[in-house]
C-alpha cells in the first residue's frame, strides 16, 4: 500500500493519532513521527510541517503537556505527555471515529 500523506489524512485525524501515541507514554516529536510510521506499517507518514503545529496546538488547548528532558542518547528534547483533559478528548474522538468508520463501512458494503 502506498503511504498516505498529510493532505489525505482527514481533518482532525492527525490530532487523534497524536493523542493516541502520546497516551502510551511521554514521547518527543521525533518519536511520535517514528511510531506513527512503524505502527501503521509505513502506511501513514506525517510531515514535520504538520506534526509540530499540531503538537503545539494540542498543547495550547491543554490536551498535551510538555517538559524539556534528556533523551536516551543524552540530548535535550521536548517530551509530550497526555493531560487528563487530553485523555477524555482521546476517548471521545476514538468513540466517534469508530461510529463513523462503522457507518462508512456499512454504506460501502451496501453499495456492492
Amino acid at each position: 500500500m502506498p503511504p498516505i500523506g498529510k493532505s489525505d489524512l482527514l481533518q482532525g485525524t492527525l490530532d487523534m493519532l497524536i493523542l493516541k501515541i502520546v497516551a502510551l507514554g511521554p514521547v518527543h516529536g521525533y518519536g511520535i513521527s517514528q511510531r506513527i510510521r512503524q505502527i501503521s506499517k509505513e502506511t501513514l507518514q506525517v510531515q514535520q510541517g504538520s506534526l509540530y503545529p499540531a503538537l503545539h496546538r494540542l498543547e495550547q488547548r491543554g490536551w498535551l503537556a510538555a517538559d524539556w528532558g534528556e533523551s536516551d542518547k543524552g540530548r535535550q528534547a521536548k517530551f509530550y505527555r497526555l493531560s487528563d483533559k487530553g485523555r477524555r478528548q482521546l476517548a471521545e474522538e476514538q468513540a466517534s471515529w469508530q461510529r463513523l468508520s462503522k457507518a462508512v463501512a456499512l454504506i460501502l458494503q451496501a453499495a456492492h
Partner: protein, 866 residues
C-alpha cells in the same frame, strides 16, 4: 510596553522551536548513520526529509499568536478587500464620517483649549479674579484702588497673595523710531501669584517695587526675540520708556502671556507712590492665589469681613463697597463658553445624523449581502465571528474617516485663530494627543452607533432563511427601520435648521437696524499715553484738545472728537445718578449709561442734538447732554435741560454737570442693544488715551498716513496705533456672533445634504429590492404615477413625523439661543415655516428622482431576468 514584552516572548518561543527542530534533525541523522550512510549524506538526507525549517517555525509562530489578533488580521484583510470591491460605498461612508468627525473634533479642540484645559499656570485652580463694587448704586464691578489691594492682601487669611495689573501703551524711544509697546504695570507679588519665574535673569527686587527705587522691568519672550534676537545679553540693558530709563532684569518664558499676548513689558507699580494713595482711584485688575484647600465661598466670606472692617475704618470711601471673587478661568472665558457649548451640541447632532445615515446605508448593503452571510454561516462561522467581521469593516471606514477628519480639524484650528481674534485662549487651540484620542473615540462610537444594529440584524436570520430566499424576490416589505432612521435624521436636521435660521434672522435684523449714528467715513485711532499723566488731568485735557484742533484743521477732515468708548461696540458703564435739584421720584432710582465725549462728538457721529447745545469747546468741565430716552424716562413731565446731574456714588470720575442739551437716541452701547437712558459727559480726556474719532471725506484708511504725520507734528514722542475704520471695529465686535451664525448654518446645510442623500439612497434601494414586484405590477397594468406617488407620499409622511419631532427639539434649541438673539423672537413663525417648507421640498425632491427611476423599467425585461 506591550510590544516590548511581546517581542521578548517571541524571541523566547523561537529559541524553543529551534531546539525542538534541532533535536529532530539530530535523531534523523543518527538513524541514517546507523543505516550506514556517510556523515555528510546522512545530514543532507535528514534536511531533505525534514523540509523547510523556516516554514515550520512560521507555522508554530502562527499557532502561538493569540486568536483575537489572528481574527483581527483576517477581518482587517476582509475589510480592505471590501473597500477595494465597492470603492464608491467606502468613499461615501468615509467622507460622511470625515465631515462629521472632523467638524466635531474641530469644535472639541476649541472647547478643550478654551473651557476644559486648565489655565497655563501652576495650580491654576487656585487663581481667582477680584473686583470691588458699590452695592448701593449697583455700579458695574470695577478695578481696585492700589491701597485697597494692599489692605485686602494684608488683612485676609485665605489668600497666598493678591496682586494686580493695569496696562498702558507707551513709546519706547531708544531705537531709531519711537515704538509703541504695551506695558503691564504690576502690583507687588505679581510673579508669586502666577507661580511663574523668569526664564532668564530674575524677578523684581524689593527696592525696585518701592517708589523712587531703581527702574526695573521684565520683558516678554516675544519682545526679546523681536528686539534682541533672543540674545541672553539683553538682561542688564536699558530701554527708554516715555521719559525714563528702565533696566531689563529678566525675560519671561514664552508660555507666560498674561494679561494677554500683546504685553511686551512688566514694570512694578510701587504701592507707596504718592499718586497711589487715594482710595478712590481704581487702577488694578486684581488677581489672587487662594491658599491650598480654601474654597471660593470661604474666600468670599473672608474678604467680606475684611471689607466690612475697612468700611468702618474709612466710612467715606469704603462703606458702600463690597468684594466680588470669581475663578480666573471663568472671567477669562466669559461668554464664549456658551457659544462653544452651543456649537459643540450642534456639531454632535450633525455627527449623529451622519451615523444614522451610515446605519441606513449599511442596512441596505446587508440585504444585498444576505447570501454571502448565509454561506458563511453554513460553512460553520459563528455569529460572533461574522458580527466582528462586519463591525471591523465599519471600523476601518470610520478610522479612515476620523483620520481625514483630524486633518480637517487641524485646518479648522487655524481658521478659528484667523476669524475669532477675540476668542479667549485662541492661541492655545492646537492639534494635540487629546484631540487625536477624541477623534479615535469618535470613530469607535460611530462604529457602534452606525454598525452594530445593522450587523446584528444581518446576522439574525442565520442559516435558516438566507440561502432559501433570494432578496431579489422580496415583495413590498414595509421597511419600518429604514424609515425610522430617516425620520430621526429629519428631526435632527430640523433642529439644526431652526437654530441656524434664528441666528440668521437675528443677524439680518441687526444689519437693518438704524444705529442712530453714522459709522461710515469714520477713522478711529489711539495715541500712546501713560496713566502716570493722570496726576495732572488738566495738562492731559489740554494736550488732547490741541491734538483734536490739529486734526480738525487737516483738509479732508470734517470733524474730530474723542470718546471713552467706541460707539456701537458693546460696552456697559451703568451708573446711578442723582440731581442737585433733589430726587425726581423718591421711589425710583435714576440709572443711566454714562459716556464720556469731547466737543464735536455729536457732529462727528451725526447724532442729532434735538434741543439745547452740544458739548461746548474749550474745557467744558461740568456740562453734559442726555439722550431722548433719558428725558422720557426721568423727566417726562418737564425739561431735563438746566438740571444738574452727579453720580450717586462717592467713587466716580464724573464730576457734577449741568444738562445742556438733549441728543437723539443712538445705539452707543452696542448695535444689538436698544437705546437706553444715556448721559454724555462732556469730557475730552476721561483717560489719557481715549479713542479718537475722525470723520473724513472718502475712504477713512486713505487718510491714515496724512493723519499720522499731522499727529507726529504735534506730538513727536508719542506713537499712533489701532488705526482702523469704525466699521471695522463694529465688524470685529460681532465676529464671534458672525462665526457662530456661519458655522451653525454650515452644519445645518450639511445636515440637509446628508438627509437628502439618505432619502435618495433609501428610495433607490427600495426600488432595487422591489424591482421584480414593480415589474410585475407594471406588467399587470399599474400606472407608474401611482407607484411614484406612493414612494413620495411615504417619504413626505416620514418627513412630517420628523418635522413634528424636530420642531419640539427646535423649541429647546431656541431656548438655548434666546439670550443671543436680537430682533427676532425665539419662536419666530417665519423661521419655523421656512424650515418646514425647506425640509418638505428637499425630501420630496430627494424621493421623487429615485422613484421616477424605479418605475422607468421594462416589465418584460425584469420578468425575464429570473
Amino acid at each position: 510596553m506591550f510590544f516590548d514584552r511581546n517581542a521578548r516572548k517571541k524571541k523566547f518561543d523561537d529559541r524553543g522551536f529551534e531546539s525542538e527542530i534541532r533535536f529532530h534533525l539530530q535523531e534523523l541523522i543518527d538513524t541514517h548513520l546507523a543505516a550506514g550512510m556517510s556523515p555528510e549524506d546522512a545530514r543532507r538526507q535528514a534536511l531533505l526529509e525534514f523540509g523547510g525549517q523556516e516554514q515550520v517555525k512560521q507555522q508554530l509562530r502562527d499557532v502561538h499568536t493569540p486568536a483575537f489578533l489572528h481574527t483581527t488580521k483576517t477581518n482587517l484583510r476582509a475589510a480592505f478587500r471590501l473597500m477595494r470591491r465597492s470603492p464608491s460605498f467606502a468613499l461615501a461612508v468615509t467622507l460622511t464620517l470625515a465631515l462629521g468627525i472632523g467638524a466635531n473634533s474641530a469644535v472639541f479642540s476649541a472647547m478643550d483649549a478654551v473651557l476644559l484645559r486648565p489655565l497655563p499656570f501652576p495650580q491654576s485652580a487656585q487663581l481667582v479674579s477680584l473686583h470691588q463694587y458699590n452695592f448701593k448704586d449697583k455700579s458695574p464691578e470695577s478695578e481696585l484702588a492700589p491701597v485697597r489691594l494692599e489692605d485686602w492682601n494684608r488683612l485676609n487669611s485665605s489668600f497666598q497673595a493678591i496682586t494686580g495689573y493695569f496696562t498702558a501703551d507707551v513709546s519706547e524711544s531708544s531705537g531709531v523710531l519711537p515704538e509703541k509697546l504695551t506695558v503691564a504695570m504690576t502690583a507687588p507679588r505679581f510673579l508669586e501669584v502666577w507661580g511663574v519665574g523668569p526664564e532668564l535673569g530674575r524677578g523684581f527686587a524689593p527696592e525696585e517695587e518701592r517708589f523712587a527705587g531703581p527702574h526695573a522691568m521684565l520683558i516678554s519672550n516675544r519682545f526679546w526675540r523681536r528686539r534682541f534676537h533672543a540674545d541672553p545679553a539683553a538682561v542688564g540693558k536699558t530701554l527708554r520708556i516715555d521719559a525714563l530709563s528702565y533696566t531689563i532684569v529678566g525675560v519671561m518664558p514664552q508660555s507666560f502671556a498674561f494679561p494677554d499676548r500683546d504685553v511686551d513689558l512688566w514694570v512694578p507699580s510701587p504701592a507707596d507712590a504718592p499718586q497711589a494713595q487715594s482710595r478712590e482711584s481704581t487702577w488694578f485688575h486684581t488677581q489672587g492665589r487662594l491658599k491650598p484647600g480654601v474654597t471660593l465661598a470661604e474666600a468670599r466670606a473672608d474678604l467680606a469681613l475684611v471689607q466690612k472692617q475697612l468700611g468702618q475704618q474709612y466710612p467715606k470711601t469704603d462703606a458702600d463697597l463690597a468684594a466680588e471673587i470669581q475663578p480666573l478661568k471663568q472671567e477669562i472665558v466669559g461668554d464664549s463658553g456658551r457659544s462653544l457649548r452651543l456649537l459643540f451640541g450642534s456639531v454632535s447632532l450633525l455627527l449623529l445624523i451622519a451615523c444614522m445615515n451610515i446605519a441606513a446605508l449599511l442596512l441596505a448593503r446587508a440585504t444585498s449581502r444576505e447570501q454571502e452571510i448565509g454561506i458563511r454561516f453554513s460553512l460553520g462561522a459563528s455569529r460572533s465571528a461574522i458580527l466582528s467581521q462586519l463591525l471591523t469593516e465599519t471600523f476601518v471606514l470610520a478610522l479612515a474617516g476620523s483620520i481625514l477628519g483630524l486633518i480637517l480639524a487641524a485646518e479648522a484650528s487655524r481658521f478659528f485663530a484667523l476669524f475669532t481674534k477675540d476668542l479667549p485662549r485662541v492661541e492655545e487651540i492646537t492639534l494635540n494627543w487629546r484631540i487625536v484620542v477624541y477623534a479615535l473615540a469618535c470613530a469607535l462610537v460611530t462604529t457602534l452607533a452606525s454598525g452594530l444594529f445593522p450587523a446584528l440584524r444581518a446576522t439574525r436570520r442565520g442559516l435558516r432563511h438566507s440561502l432559501s430566499r433570494s432578496s431579489y424576490t422580496q415583495v413590498a416589505g414595509r421597511n419600518p427601520l429604514h424609515w425610522t432612521l430617516i425620520g430621526i435624521q429629519i428631526a435632527l436636521a430640523v433642529t439644526l435648521l431652526i437654530g441656524a435660521g434664528l441666528l440668521l434672522r437675528s443677524f439680518q435684523a441687526m444689519g437693518r437696524v438704524d444705529p442712530g449714528f453714522e459709522a461710515a467715513h469714520i477713522l478711529t485711532l489711539r495715541i500712546s499715553a501713560s496713566w502716570a499723566e493722570t496726576a495732572d488731568m488738566k495738562k492731559v485735557t489740554q494736550r488732547i484738545d490741541r491734538t483734536l484742533a490739529a486734526l480738525r484743521a487737516v483738509p479732508g477732515v470734517e470733524d474730530a472728537a474723542t470718546a471713552a468708548f467706541l460707539p456701537g461696540v458693546p460696552a456697559r458703564y451703568q451708573t446711578e445718578l442723582k440731581t442737585a435739584e433733589g430726587p425726581r421720584d423718591p421711589n425710583r432710582k435714576m440709572t443711566a449709561e454714562v459716556r464720556f465725549v469731547s466737543t464735536g462728538y455729536f457732529s462727528t457721529m451725526k447724532i442729532p442734538v434735538l434741543h439745547g447745545q452740544p458739548c461746548p469747546g474749550g474745557s467744558p468741565y461740568g456740562t453734559a447732554l442726555v439722550n431722548r430716552s433719558f428725558q422720557n424716562s426721568y423727566f417726562a413731565d418737564t425739561e431735563a435741560v438746566g438740571h444738574h446731574l452727579a453720580s450717586a456714588s462717592a467713587v466716580s470720575i464724573a464730576p457734577a454737570a449741568e444738562i445742556r442739551g438733549i441728543a437723539g437716541d443712538a445705539r452707543d452701547e452696542g448695535l444689538n442693544v436698544a437705546p437706553v437712558p444715556t448721559v454724555y459727559w462732556c469730557l475730552s480726556a476721561p483717560s489719557p488715551d481715549p479713542y479718537y474719532l475722525i470723520r473724513v471725506h472718502g475712504d477713512p484708511m486713505a487718510m491714515a498716513d496724512t493723519l499720522r504725520r499731522v499727529i507726529h507734528g504735534v506730538e513727536p514722542s508719542r506713537s499712533v496705533y489701532d488705526v482702523m475704520p469704525l466699521e471695522q471695529h463694529l465688524t470685529d465686535a460681532y465676529a464671534e456672533n458672525r462665526l457662530r451664525t456661519l458655522l451653525l448654518s454650515f452644519f445645518a446645510c450639511t445636515a440637509v445634504a446628508l438627509v437628502s442623500i439618505g432619502i435618495y439612497g433609501t428610495i433607490s434601494y427600495l426600488g432595487r429590492v422591489r424591482r421584480r414586484e414593480l415589474g410585475l405590477r407594471l406588467a399587470l397594468g399599474a400606472i407608474p404615477s401611482q407607484i411614484v406617488t406612493r414612494f413620495v407620499g411615504q417619504s413626505i409622511r416620514v418627513a412630517g413625523f420628523g418635522c413634528a419631532a424636530g420642531v419640539v427639539l427646535g423649541f429647546g434649541m431656541s431656548r438655548l439661543l434666546a439670550g443671543t438673539l436680537y430682533g427676532v423672537s425665539s419662536i419666530d413663525a417665519a423661521t419655523y415655516l421656512g424650515v418646514l417648507g425647506l425640509i418638505l421640498t428637499v425630501t420630496t425632491l430627494a424621493a421623487l428622482i429615485p422613484a421616477l427611476r424605479a418605475v422607468r423599467l421594462e416589465p418584460t425585461c425584469v420578468l425575464r431576468e429570473e
